[in-house]
């Protein structure tokens, strides 16, 4: 049983990592992430980068949906804005990668604010549907503007950091994972501030929040802005990772994927977005592995996709019905078990 975690100051109580054990584990994790590229093969590195990008975007959506209570089905479109911005900047101007990512995030953020404007008048499901509309309009722009290369899209030169072209999974890992880690740290800190707490108040009951003196429009827009900034940076990473950006790269399905990720992971927790995005990204690969083990041969491959689609849906429905707080809650329960061990309660 864990004892002796009495806090002696507010600062200690609010600390991000509040105990020595926790700090040790974080250190272990960081070391593991640094060691990972040296032991993993390109396939696992590829998956690790993809997971990291999805975590970044899911965390952004979690700020908006999980913490502020505004449902958006436009996350993929905002990623697209970021990706296209980075692609154009890298291709036309060749500006430094980090700057491109920041600009990509900012342009996506402007888009997010624009979409967020109806959020004061339009709420809940209507807002969700308005974001669908926004993503179709964005898709139209990608496919028909001159600068975006039409339906053929753009190819992106590799990101360059200190003159090194990040053109393999091993190299791009060192851009993707640290940026994602920074974004996670930022998000975790956000909810220790006034802004973050205002978001939560809005989620719990927006009219009450307004009565308490939280300017609704400003904070809702801020939430949209932050969330789409995350999406934009994640989209920029995506562009550097896949190196080709087309209008069909960011379908509505992808937005649903992110929503599913935070539902499965746990809405309104940082850990939730991490667990959810990791889990949902790995599910297809895992399923393929399982079907591969069954000795049905190559022909069984054709059942993988339908099964994956079904599993995807079942996970969403199942978690909503049985565990609305998601994997994060399950994880917390496991932890509590060990904290209290050998006692039951």
């Amino acid at each position: 049983m864990r004892i002796g975690t009495a806090k002696q100051s507010y600062a200690a109580d609010q600390a991000l990592f509040d105990s020595a054990t926790q700090r040790t584990w974080v250190l272990v994790l960081v070391l593991a992430l640094i060691a990972f590229p040296f032991v993993a093969d390109p396939y696992w590195l590829y998956l690790a980068c993809l997971v990291a990008i999805n975590i970044a975007s899911a965390t952004g959506l979690n700020i908006l949906t999980g913490y502020t209570g505004l449902v958006s089905l436009g996350q993929a479109a905002f990623m697209g804005i970021g990706a296209y911005t980075v692609a154009v900047l890298e291709q036309r101007l060749g500006t430094p990668a980090i700057l491109n990512l920041l600009i990509g995030g900012t342009v996506a953020m402007l888009g997010g604010v624009l979409v967020g404007i109806p959020s004061l008048r339009v709420k809940g499901l209507y807002l969700a549907i308005a974001t669908i509309a926004a993503s179709f309009i964005v898709h139209f722009l990608f496919a028909n503007l001159g600068v975006t290369g039409g339906t053929a899209g753009l190819s992106v030169p590799p990101a360059k950091i200190f003159g090194v072209a990040l053109d393999t999974s091993f190299r791009i890992y060192w851009l993707v994972v640290p940026v994602t880690a920074l974004m996670l740290l930022g998000a975790a800190n956000l909810f220790r501030t006034r802004i973050g707490r205002a978001f939560i108040a809005i989620r719990d009951r927006d009219i009450s929040a307004e009565v308490l003196g939280i300017p609704l429009l400003r904070y809702k827009l801020l939430s949209f802005a932050l969330s789409s900034f995350y999406a934009g940076v994640a989209g920029g990473l995506w562009a550097y990772f896949f190196r080709v950006v087309t209008p069909e790269s960011f379908p509505l399905q992808m937005s649903i994927f992110f929503l599913a990720a935070i539902i499965v992971g746990g809405m309104g927790t940082i850990l939730g977005a991490i667990l959810g995005a990791t889990f949902m990204t790995m599910v297809p690969e895992f399923l393929k592995l399982v079907v591969g083990w069954t000795s049905l041969g190559a022909d069984s491959l054709q059942y993988v996709a339908p099964i994956r689609i079904i599993v995807f849906g079942v996970l969403i429905v199942g978690f909503l019905v049985f565990e609305p707080h998601g994997l994060a809650e399950m994880w917390r329960r496991v932890r509590r078990f060990f904290h209290l061990w050998p006692f039951k309660h």
Partner: protein
């Protein structure tokens, strides 16, 4: 372009809008009773169409038997969905239930792909194939008969809501669940009823849509336009579904006729955004007033 082009395009839009209205009707019935925004509406159409395909092509049932068969089967599936996935969500925030339907749509697509594969299929031809001619304007036959079906079904539903006991119970539940309970209405049964009815209508719509555009596991995309229609018409208004459907049909058709196919979806979504900004509860919807 000449005036006949405009007339022809408008007529095509109206007739095509009938299809939207039909699917929107299925949506509105569910929403009206249960307050569930059903994002799986397109996939419910698809299930209806595939069941019809399975019965008529797979088992070679005659058309007059396969259509009712598919409608009944879909209705049962609708009831099942309500019982398994929607009922447990009673009392949860509407967003969660909405998300459940997102998950459902994915499950339905997967089931269809598993059962019938991902290939496209064609339904057997069962509608008259001669175009309808009005002056110099031609109207595609399938779309025209789809339009008639939509009109007839909408009218029937309106009458049922007005005069039938079940319909009255449905309306009562829609306006106040607590009061409906108190008056002895079995609200859970009303819930089931609305999903069964919604799924049945969706099946009819699916069969019409499938006979025009063919079957594929991606035909659920049709549901997106339906979503636009119901938002524009008002989520809980049957008349709104009809008017919204026709309106969106005409707008799409005009956009396609004068601007080009790539503008179709764009224009409908722009209309959607405008309506949302001006009348967030739709043209005919009931305005919710929020109290603390």
């Amino acid at each position: 372009m000449d005036i006949w082009f405009l007339i022809e395009i408008t007529l095509a839009g109206l007739a095509g809008g009938g299809l939207y209205a039909l699917a929107a009707l299925a949506f509105v019935i569910v929403y009206k009773a249960t307050r569930v925004v059903n994002l799986a509406i397109g996939e419910m159409l698809m299930i209806g169409a595939y069941t019809f395909f399975g019965l008529s092509t797979g088992l070679s049932w005659p058309v007059w038997l396969a259509i009712p068969g598919a409608v009944v089967a879909s209705a049962l599936i609708g009831g099942l969905i309500e019982r398994i996935a929607i009922r447990p969500m009673l009392g949860e925030p509407p967003i969660s239930v909405f998300m459940v339907t997102v998950g459902l749509s994915s499950i339905l697509v997967g089931v269809v792909e598993l059962a019938w594969g991902a290939d496209t299929h064609r339904l057997i031809e069962f509608m008259p194939r001669d175009p309808i001619v009005l002056g110099e304007a031609f109207i595609a036959p399938k779309v025209f008969y789809g339009f008639l079906t939509a009109l007839a079904l909408t009218l029937a539903v309106l009458l049922l809501f007005r005069f039938w006991r079940g319909g009255v119970a449905l309306r009562a539940t829609a306006s106040d669940q607590g009061a409906a309970y108190a008056m002895g209405i079995a609200v859970p049964r009303v819930f089931s009823l609305s999903w069964v009815a919604g799924a049945a209508i969706a099946a009819v719509a699916g069969i019409v849509v499938g006979s025009i555009g063919g079957l594929s596991p991606t035909m659920g995309i049709f549901g997106l336009s339906v979503l636009v229609v119901v938002i524009v018409g008002g989520l809980d208004s049957i008349a709104g579904a009809l008017v919204g459907g026709l309106l969106i049909g005409v707008v799409e058709s005009l956009a396609g006729g004068y601007l080009g196919g790539e503008y179709k979806l764009l224009t409908t979504f722009v209309v959607l955004v405008v309506v949302l900004m001006v009348r967030p509860y739709g043209l005919f919807g009931t305005r919710d007033i929020e109290r603390l």
